[in-house]
């Protein structure tokens, strides 16, 4: 399985190169890729249907327990077949849709990469392997949605999708880590056996919420649904793929996958029920108000996803079977519908329902496909849509709680799909019109064959449910529930409540269709209402982030050096105080005072001289005086060193001080005169801060001095300096021998300084500075 996926990735990465070789025939290898995979998975089918699972594990990062672990069971193969089958058709379609586009190679790269990561996602047996593929789908969908990259709307939509799903991805990561910690394994098959362990964990609820957040963002559930309609900025084949078998279904897959691990508790079911219901109704309601074909379909996808989530939330055997059946149906039909919408757009140049009419004659194959798929979509006998709808109704009516509510929700959603079916299957094509929309060019075979194939499939599934759909669904729902169940699908209706409902749905649907035009007219007036919806929250969040960040940054990064320094020093003082607070050893003041009395006269004179100079320096306005004063202070320090037994240091200090003063004088006459620039009150603030800092340093110094220093270094050097170091001047011996490496560093600093000064003074870049 690894080989299959890797091969797929390699083929997808090579597509730009293949494009150069094959030109417009690029679609052949790219369609062959999913088709081959489809066959490959079909080979597994018989044994999977008998309840076997296949695993293959490859070591990747065993230290982190993240391995390439693939796991094929009923659910995975169900998704894998769906992805590859639809993938094949979409690839063919894309070849027709984007003929001659200069970036076709890159398009196929992203599309097939997207497909492979989706495939990897459903095949992963290691939850982190799954997570990695999950994120890859986000990234590749970002590239796909932003494919029309010179258009600002595309970029906006791509970014939005990436951010929303990326947020979900991070939540997923945290959630998976929590689950992994709770279940003490990252392997899906192990986790499936540890349901109790995970559910009894203290962090079960946060983990669950994080997983749900991930699934909801990916599956476009309320309130994260808004990215999905915007994502139709992508080329239509992408939308078809994204809405039918991939991306949005990833969230559903996640929920289904984790249902046996996390599910069965009210914490799990309640959020699903709520989010699913709201999305189903809101999606249906919004779908009816759109005039853009793709927008209609996008919102109806949200509605369908809502139903799927709702079904998982209900969680009974029947509901899950209905969920899978509906998922299959939705994948087949929504893909068809998108492809048809794309063909219409391609041929006429518009997607506006109000403008399009009378296309039945000019686009005959498309029209046939559209009508048939609409019948299935609306749930007409004998299409698969009929069976799926019956199942949904049955499941809601048999729900353990809130049956009427969920029934109504499914009903609303279904009514909406009937209306959409009327619009797409009838209104655009067959309603008599005086001025049929002009078709610029007929649709090629690549554009109408894939929808027809899909329609045929849904008819096939409808006609032979017990041969085709039943085993597939049974093995898949077995995986979702972690125990085998038997659901039989029948084409022929039992005359039950469900059938009545179907008829009732049609009647209401037709009535709604009759009123549809009126609704479309009203819709623009409702726009302000929608502008306060979740999407505006997102926009506000982004704008707020940008504005807030600008404000915060210009506050923190004000550009004033002194506030930077003040902040740093304050932090420093604060931290030192914090570390000494409470338990710090107290300063023994009396001994200090004793020591203070011990000061010799000349030392005192020196000190007074220094302190005096410092204050003189503050007062003086002359630059030369201040340099001279500075020199005095430096020399006094040097004298101090001398007095306390450090002749070398003293000499160095003398020379350095001289040199600094010389340097200063050399520079001085280039500097402007001396002025006081700061405000008075600010100066006081600084004085306080400086005093605080000075006091802190003094305190620290005295505190450290309080503890007798037992330096073994001193003793060692004193003892061995001459014998081993062959020198009497210990300081010098240390510098050139014991610690010569320091000196090496020191002279390096000096060398670099010289280079720097030379470069500073000699090298003049052009104004503004180039590279």
């Amino acid at each position: 399985m690894l080989v299959a996926i890797l091969a797929g990735l390699i083929v997808s990465l090579s597509s730009p190169a293949l494009y150069k070789m094959l030109g417009k025939w690029l679609f052949v290898p790219m369609a062959l890729l999913p088709f081959t995979l489809f066959i490959y998975f079909c080979a597994f089918l018989p044994s999977v249907l008998q309840g076997h699972t296949f695993t293959s594990e490859y070591r990747w990062v065993p230290s982190l327990y993240i391995n390439l672990h693939f796991y094929l069971d009923g659910l995975s193969i169900f998704f894998a077949l769906l992805i590859t089958a639809i993938g094949t058709l979409v690839m063919v379609y894309a070849g027709g849709y984007l003929t001659g586009h200069p970036l076709l190679g890159r398009f196929y790269l992203y599309l097939s990469f997207f497909m492979m990561s989706m495939l990897g996602l459903v095949l992963s047996g290691n939850i982190f392997c799954m997570f990695i593929f999950w994120e890859l789908t986000s990234i590749s969908s970002y590239m796909l949605i932003g494919f029309g990259h010179e258009n600002a709307a595309s970029r906006y939509a791509a970014l939005q999708a990436l951010l929303v799903t990326g947020m979900g991805g991070l939540a997923l990561m945290a959630g998976l880590i929590l689950i992994g910690n709770a279940g003490n394994s990252y392997s899906l098959s192990t986790l499936l056996t540890r349901q109790e362990l995970i559910q009894s964990d203290a962090l079960y609820l946060p983990a669950l919420l994080l997983i749900l957040l991930a699934a909801f963002t990916k599956s476009a559930q309320f309130p994260f649904h808004f990215w999905l309609p915007n994502a139709m900025a992508a080329p239509t084949p992408v939308s078809a793929f994204l809405h039918s078998a991939t991306m949005v279904k990833a969230g559903i897959y996640l929920l289904a996958r984790f249902n046996p691990i996390m599910g069965g508790t009210p914490e799990w079911q309640l959020p699903l029920l709520i989010a699913g219901s709201i999305s189903a109704v809101a999606g249906a309601w919004l779908a009816l108000q759109q005039t853009d074909l793709k927008a209609i379909l996008a919102y109806s996808t949200i509605s369908a996803l809502g139903i799927l989530v709702l079904m998982i939330g209900i969680g009974t055997d029947k509901a899950l079977a209905a969920m899978l059946a509906f998922l299959l149906l939705h994948a087949l039909n929504k893909c068809t519908l998108f492809l048809i919408a794309g063909s219409i757009d391609h041929a006429t140049g518009t997607r506006d329902v109000k403008l399009l009419q009378g296309l039945g004659k000019s686009m005959r194959p498309i029209a046939i496909a559209a009508s048939l798929v609409s019948l299935s979509y609306a749930g007409v006998f004998p299409f698969f849509g009929f069976i799926s709808k019956e199942l949904l109704y049955e499941a809601t009516l048999e729900a353990e709680s809130n049956a009427p509510v969920s029934f109504i929700i499914v009903f609303v959603s279904k009514v909406a799909s009937v209306v959409i079916a009327f619009v797409l299957g009838y209104r655009l094509f067959w309603r008599t019109s005086t001025a049929p929309t002009v078709v610029r060019h007929p649709c090629g075979r690549k554009l109408y064959m894939p929808p027809l194939v899909l329609v045929f499939l849904s008819l096939l599934f409808g006609l032979l449910p017990s041969q085709l759909a039943t085993p597939l669904l049974n093995s898949a729902s077995g995986a979702v529930l972690s125990r085998g169940i038997q659901v039989d699908l029948h084409l022929l209706p039992k005359f039950s409540m469900a059938l009545l409902n179907t008829i009732f749905t049609f009647i209401v649907g037709y009535l709604a269709y009759a009123q549809h035009n009126r609704l479309l007219n009203v819709a623009p007036r409702l726009l302000p209402l929608y502008n306060t919806g979740p999407e505006s929250w997102y926009q506000q969040a982004i704008t707020g982030l940008l504005k807030g960040s600008v404000k915060l940054t210009s506050m923190i990064q004000s550009g004033y050096l002194r506030s930077y320094i003040a902040a740093i020093v304050l932090v420093h003082v604060g931290l030192v105080i914090l570390s000494l607070w409470g338990e710090g050893p107290a300063l023994n003041i009396s001994t200090r005072l004793d020591q203070l009395l011990d000061v010799k006269v000349y030392e005192l004179v020196l000190l007074v001289l220094m302190v005096g100079s410092v204050f003189f320096l503050f007062r003086t306005r002359s630059r030369l005086t201040s340099i001279a004063t500075m020199g005095i202070i430096g020399f006094s320090v040097a004298l101090l060193y001398l007095l306390f037994g450090a002749p070398d240091v003293s000499a160095t200090q003398f020379l350095i001080e001289t040199l600094t003063v010389v340097l200063f004088v050399l520079v001085l006459h280039r500097l402007p005169p001396f002025r006081f620039l700061s405000h008075r009150y600010r100066r006081y603030k600084y004085i306080i801060l400086s005093a605080l800092f000075g006091g802190m340093m003094t305190y620290v110094l005295l505190l450290v001095k309080q503890f007798p220093l037992q330096s073994e270094l001193k003793a060692y050097y004193g003892e061995h300096g001459y014998m081993l170091g062959r020198g009497r001047n210990l300081v010098n011996v240390i510098i050139v021998d014991f610690r010569a490496l320091d000196t090496l560093g020191e002279i390096t600093v000096l060398a670099v300084t010289a280079l720097g000064i030379m470069a500073l003074l000699r090298l003049r870049a052009e104004k503004g500075g180039k590279l």
């Binding site: 320090v637 070398d648 340097l663 600093v749 003074l761």
Partner: protein
């Protein structure tokens, strides 16, 4: 004394004028050096030099370790200060200002880009 030097240095650095900035930096380096020196034991008189004829240093002799650290630190400090002095001079030459507050061009934020349509 160290405290006063530190405080004074900081006070000067916080000024807006270049010149005072440099003076402040000088103070700061002086203060740090003195700090190091004082942290090691202060010993009056006895230098860290072994007397002619003897093979070991006789107490009291001052701790040579801080002294040698100090030497290194002084020199490094000088290097950096020298560079800073020249830098200030160049800055004045190029930017024609001696006011620190005029130097916040590089921290400025340009008009942000909003990703809306």
């Amino acid at each position: 004394m160290v405290g006063i030097l530190f405080g004074a240095g900081l006070y000067l650095i916080l000024h807006r004028h270049f010149f005072k900035l440099i003076l402040g930096l000088m103070f700061f380096s002086l203060a740090t050096n003195l700090f190091i020196f004082v942290v090691g034991q202060l010993t009056r008189g006895g230098t860290a030099i072994i007397e002619e004829g003897s093979e070991e240093a006789v107490e009291p002799f001052s701790d040579p370790v801080p002294q040698s650290l100090l030497l290194t630190a002084i020199v490094i400090g000088f290097g950096i200060l020298a560079f800073a002095i020249v830098l200030i001079r160049r800055v004045y030459q190029v930017l024609h200002t001696n006011d620190m507050d005029n130097l916040n061009e590089t921290d400025k934020i340009e008009q942000p880009i909003y990703p809306h349509e």
